[in-house]
């Protein structure tokens, strides 16, 4: 199994290197296929290690180190990977969905003159993501963590002539850098106390630490998780990240990277269990995020941004789950979400690709008439997202709410938030659907729509969409609490659900009744407002609208609190300290000395008698002194 895992890790990197070395000599198509194959090879490796691990269920985590990556005195960090249910689970999702999306991008990126670079990046991303999930100790986890941030930066800014894209990329990277920093600080604490970053030892140490210390560690980790998963208050980068190519949004900012935060919490759950307060903070953040994102999504007019906000809110659900200790539920939702959110993005991508890269939903009206396949795929994805029974979202979202319900009073609050979120989900998702797909195509669409040889897109694009459609529809049936829970069982050795989060049948039942109803209610409202014949007008609440359009003024706040002051300080230091003080002090001293020199030279006035005078005077003084001190 280890071999499989290593294969899974190295294959994408090999792809990257190959493309880099090939450079411009390598034809674009070849580069594309190299990347795709490499990722599918990774998927094969993932499957291999999955089945191997499945075969011997006796002990569940296998570590394998190749060399000592970093060492200082007693503190050593091997370059090692871990193969256990959790990592294999993630490996499958990452490489599987990743493979599909890379395949999809072959068609999507076709014709872009920097195609090679794109595929190199994306293969590199898959490598980093796999390193993240396979990393056998905290530091390698952090390394993968940072590298996915890097590749996300690279891919967001892929169209580097667009200032907005570059800005978005920088924003994403810097926010994640902040996350990395807090993450690292958490690690420093662990090193200071255990001089090791092995998972086991770290967790063992954490349990012995003082409450405040372990809280600190957990907080650091949470900071990293929140930044990576775009949770409030570190979420503002995600919507902007939509500047990147759509497959990138699908892969990185929907399916895999952004969910890494959930993985991190799950992976380091012993620490969070030792720091219950912080765990609750995580859940709370999730709750706030899912509401906030849902509301903001309501007023977005960019098709991708709507989906991006929905991603935020879905990850909010996962955080809630992880926060209260229902880790496996969180992971399950992570999986289904990966399917249907990727699906949604790629469907949207089909539309965008077909309609001259237009993303404004108000222009895209009635595109469904021209793209039925896309329409249906999107519809199914939307249904799964909203959690219509029998669709995957239904099976994965409701248990999270149920798990909340059985917790203390705040559990009920979370539960309520989750339900409201479901309503919002229905509302914004189908607002999007009703605006874009049904009805007569708008003149803009008619004008700009161009089909790909009479099809809605090249087969490389359609096939992945099809596959994901199927998955989005049926993948949920894998696990149906409380009746059958293979995933929970599979993961339980690594991330056992906390007893507090064990949902009773009653919880499941009531949630499973209420949540779909609310979701459908949302859909209905959406239909009433945005449907073909609009029965309801959009409620006009000016302040609320402004609030939502400004996304609760987070960007403005950051600009005001961090960016502007930083720039101001830097400028101030430069203008008022560096240049006048540091850079000139030396030369000022020099000037002074030179003046002294001139004064000395004036003494040398060329008059012989002056010289003699100095000689005589010197002698006299010397004599006086001698006679005085003799």
């Amino acid at each position: 199994m280890i071999a499989g895992a290593w294969l899974c890790l190295w294959a994408p990197l090999a792809g990257t290197v190959l493309i880099l070395l090939g450079g411009t000599r390598m034809p674009r198509k070849v580069a594309a296929w190299v990347a795709t194959t490499s990722v599918f090879v990774a998927f094969a490796g993932a499957l291999w290690s999955f089945f191997a691990l499945h075969a011997n269920a006796d002990h569940h985590s296998h570590y394998s180190a190749l060399w000592t990556w970093l060492a200082a005195g007693k503190f050593t960090v091997p370059f090692e990977i871990v193969v256990d249910p959790l990592s294999t689970f993630m490996m499958l999702i990452v490489s599987g969905v990743g493979g599909l999306i890379v395949l999809y991008s072959i068609g999507y990126m076709d014709g872009d003159d920097e195609e090679r670079r794109y595929f190199a990046y994306i293969a590199f991303f898959v490598f980093s993501m796999l390193l993240l999930v396979e990393g056998g100790n905290m530091l390698l986890l952090l390394v993968g963590w940072g590298l996915v941030g890097l590749s996300s930066y690279l891919l967001i800014g892929f169209w580097h002539e667009r200032p907005s894209a570059v800005a978005a990329a920088k924003k994403a990277f810097i926010m994640n850098a902040f996350g990395d920093a807090t993450f690292a600080l958490a690690l420093f604490v662990l090193i200071a106390h255990s001089n090791s970053l092995e998972f086991a030892t770290s967790f063992a140490t954490a349990s012995h630490l003082s409450q405040s210390t372990v809280d600190l560690v957990a907080l650091g980790l949470l900071g990293g998780a929140a930044a990576k998963s775009a949770q409030v208050p570190l979420h503002t980068w995600l919507p902007d990240a939509m500047e990147g190519p759509t497959p990138v949004s699908a892969l990185i900012h929907a399916a895999t990277m952004v969910t890494a935060g959930v993985y991190l919490i799950a992976r380091t759950h012993p620490i969070f269990e030792d720091a219950p307060t912080i765990a609750l903070v995580a859940a709370g953040l999730g709750a706030i995020t899912l509401l906030m994102a849902g509301m903001i999504a309501l007023v977005q007019t960019d098709i991708k941004r709507v989906i991006a906000y929905s991603t935020m809110s879905q990850i909010g659900y996962m955080f809630m789950a992880a926060g209260v200790g229902a880790f496996s539920n969180g992971m399950f939702h992570l999986m289904t979400h990966a399917f249907f959110k990727a699906l949604l993005f790629m469907a949207a991508g089909l539309v965008i690709h077909a309609v001259a890269d237009e993303q404004d939903i108000r222009k895209l009206r009635g595109v469904g008439a021209l793209m039925p396949f896309t329409k249906w795929a999107f519809l199914i994805g939307a249904a799964a997202l909203v959690g219509i029974p029998a669709f995957s979202g239904f099976f994965s979202k409701d248990p999270i709410l149920a798990a909340d319900l059985h917790d203390h009073w705040y559990g009920v609050v979370f539960w309520a938030c989750g339900l409201v979120g479901t309503f919002l989900t229905g509302l914004y998702t189908f607002r999007l659907y009703f605006i874009v797909f049904p009805g007569e195509p708008s003149p803009f669409v008619r004008e700009h729509y161009h089909s790909h040889h009479g099809r809605e897109g090249s087969w490389t694009m359609l096939v992945p969409v099809g596959v994901l459609t199927v998955l989005a529809a049926v993948a949920g049936w894998i696990q149906f609490q409380p009746f059958w829970e293979p995933i929970t069982h599979w993961l339980s050795p690594v991330i056992p659900t906390e007893p507090a989060a064990e949902a009773t049948n009653w919880d499941d039942a009531i949630t499973s009744v209420i949540a779909p109803i609310l979701g459908i209610a949302g859909i209905v409202v959406a239909w009433l407002i945005y449907g073909a014949r609009q029965r309801l007008a959009v409620p006009r609440i000016a302040w609320l609208q402004r609030l939502l359009e400004h996304k609760f003024y987070f960007d403005e706040a950051y600009d005001l609190v961090f960016y502007k002051p930083a720039v101001a300080t830097a400028t101030l230091w430069r203008r008022d300290f560096e240049e006048p003080v540091v850079l000139t002090t030396g030369s000022d001293l020099g000037e002074g000395t030179l003046e002294l020199g001139n004064a000395t030279r004036r003494m040398q006035n060329g008059l012989l008698r002056t010289y003699v005078f100095f000689l005589g005077a010197g002698m006299a003084v010397l004599a006086v002194v001698f006679l005085a001190v003799r």
Partner: protein, 484 residues
């Protein structure tokens, strides 16, 4: 020839070659290729040494000692420890790249130019292997002589002022050090770094530190830095920030900390504060610099601050991280300045206002600058990340706030480095970026790619340095034993 002779050869070969080049009336091409050859031989010799080196053993290796001034117990005493070996490696590699660059660019007055570059190589190697205070000082000063002329003759328009600043600043530090050396040597009856005992004198400690603080440089002793880095020819700046500046931090480790344990602990907080200040201040100013070189210049000041932070944290992690960071940052800034030179040659400017959009159609430049840049901002997984991580982990063990400040430095690094990258490569094409401005030529690639290659290799195996710098990888113990 045994490894001990190699140490001397590493010093004398370039000096001799310099003399030869000055004397022989060779053609431009012959001169250049001879210089390149010599610097490559240096690299080869170093590899030979690195292979033979016993990383587990305690004490000095490849040592040689001959009397120089008997009646004051001064001797020509050279030798290597793990960390000095790596710094020597850094020197020869970076110098080779720099010499190659000079050859590629075709500097005028080749004989003088290459002679001085080789002289600089020898002197710098000498600094890292000298085991006698006066010898150390001699090499420490000898580095300045070629630098002065290299910058003053082949530098930019403001070179005169820059060289003057450079010399007067650094000399004011090192002359104080000379006084300290005299006092130290006569007080303890020997100038030998191994034989001499530790000293409790705080004044002497400060005397030494001043020189190193200016050389590194640390805030607020960096007045010379911006001008010199801006005016010097690209490859000289590369060496200056990549290698020469490391002499300062090396001195802190080899002399200040080792020979003055009590003063070190007394002034620890103060100097760590300086380090932190340099880190934050340098990063902030780098963030507002209008040009390529300005950013890298202040960023290397920040790096020096970080290294000082690690060294004076006095922890295993700190020491190892500091050494690793010295090497990594040396290579990074060398590569970055060479790239800056490449950009300047194509656009006649380093000002961001006129740059931009160079990535389009220049894949090699884009890739190399991007890779170096992200390594420079210590993206996790890179060698410089490993160094920073160790340093901050070490300084956390001293007190948590050091680590916090350091971490903030990491974020700032991301800010200014990304600003640089996108200002040069991305967004709309700058007014001075012409279409015919070419991608990196093979000549330049053959210089920069090796540097980046070494960096990537280090990124895959930072332990190669961090765990081989000190005997038994126990820095604190080694320092306590004064590397005996």
């Amino acid at each position: 020839m045994n490894a001990s002779d190699l140490t001397t050869v590493l010093i004398c070969l370039p000096l001799g070659a310099a003399l030869l080049i000055w004397l022989l009336p060779l053609s431009r091409f012959a001169t250049g290729s001879l210089a390149v050859l010599v610097s490559l031989v240096e690299v080869a010799l170093w590899i030979e040494q690195a292979v033979r080196f016993d990383y587990g053993a305690r004490g000095l290796q490849n040592a040689q000692q001959t009397a120089w001034i008997k009646d004051l117990h001064v001797s020509y005493h050279v030798g290597e420890y793990g960390f000095s070996l790596f710094l020597v490696g850094l020197t020869v590699v970076a110098m080779a790249a720099a010499v190659g660059y000079g050859f590629w660019v075709g500097r005028d007055r080749p004989r003088a130019y290459f002679g001085l570059m080789l002289f600089l190589t020898g002197a710098t190697v000498g600094v890292f292997v000298a085991q006698d205070l006066l010898l150390f000082y001699a090499f420490f000063e000898a580095m300045l002589i070629p630098l002065y002329v290299l910058i003053g003759v082949w530098g930019g328009p403001g070179r005169i002022g820059a060289t003057l600043k450079l010399l007067l600043y650094t000399m004011s530090g090192s002359l104080v050090m000379l006084a300290a050396i005299v006092v130290f040597g006569l007080k303890y009856g020997t100038f030998d770094l191994i034989a001499s005992p530790t000293s409790p004198s705080r004044w002497l400690f400060l005397g030494f530190m001043l020189a190193f603080l200016i050389k590194a440089p640390l805030f607020p002793f960096h007045g010379w830095l911006p001008d010199s880095y801006r005016e010097a020819p690209a490859e000289v700046t590369a060496v200056l920030s990549g290698v020469i500046a490391k002499a300062g931090t090396y001195g802190m480790l080899r002399i200040a900390i080792t020979k003055f344990p009590e003063p070190t602990s007394f002034y620890r907080t103060a100097i760590m504060a300086l380090g932190a200040a340099s880190l934050v201040y340098g990063s902030m100013l780098a963030f507002r610099q209008p040009g390529f070189r300005g950013v890298v210049a202040y960023s290397s000041m920040a790096a020096s601050g970080l290294i000082a932070l690690g060294l004076f944290s006095g922890t295993n992690l700190g020491y190892d991280g500091a050494v690793l960071q010295m090497v990594a940052h040396g290579l990074v800034s060398a590569a970055l300045f060479l790239l800056a030179g490449a950009v300047e040659r194509r656009t006649t400017t380093g000002e961001f206002a006129y740059l931009g959009g160079m990535a389009r159609g220049r894949p090699a430049l884009a890739t190399l600058l991007m890779v170096t840049g992200v390594i420079a901002l210590a993206v996790p997984g890179s060698a410089s990340f490993a160094g920073e991580f160790l340093i901050l982990a070490g300084s956390y063990q001293r007190a948590w706030w050091w680590a916090v400040i350091g971490a903030s430095g990491v974020v700032l690094a991301a800010m200014y480095m990304l600003r640089l990258i996108s200002a040069v490569l991305h967004e709309a094409r700058g007014s001075l970026v012409r279409d015919e401005a070419m991608d990196l030529r093979p000549g330049e690639l053959s210089l920069i790619v090796p540097l980046v290659g070494v960096l990537l290799a280090l990124s895959f195996w930072p332990a190669g340095i961090s765990s081989h710098s000190f005997a038994g990888d126990n820095p604190t113990k080694a320092v306590r034993e004064q590397f005996r």
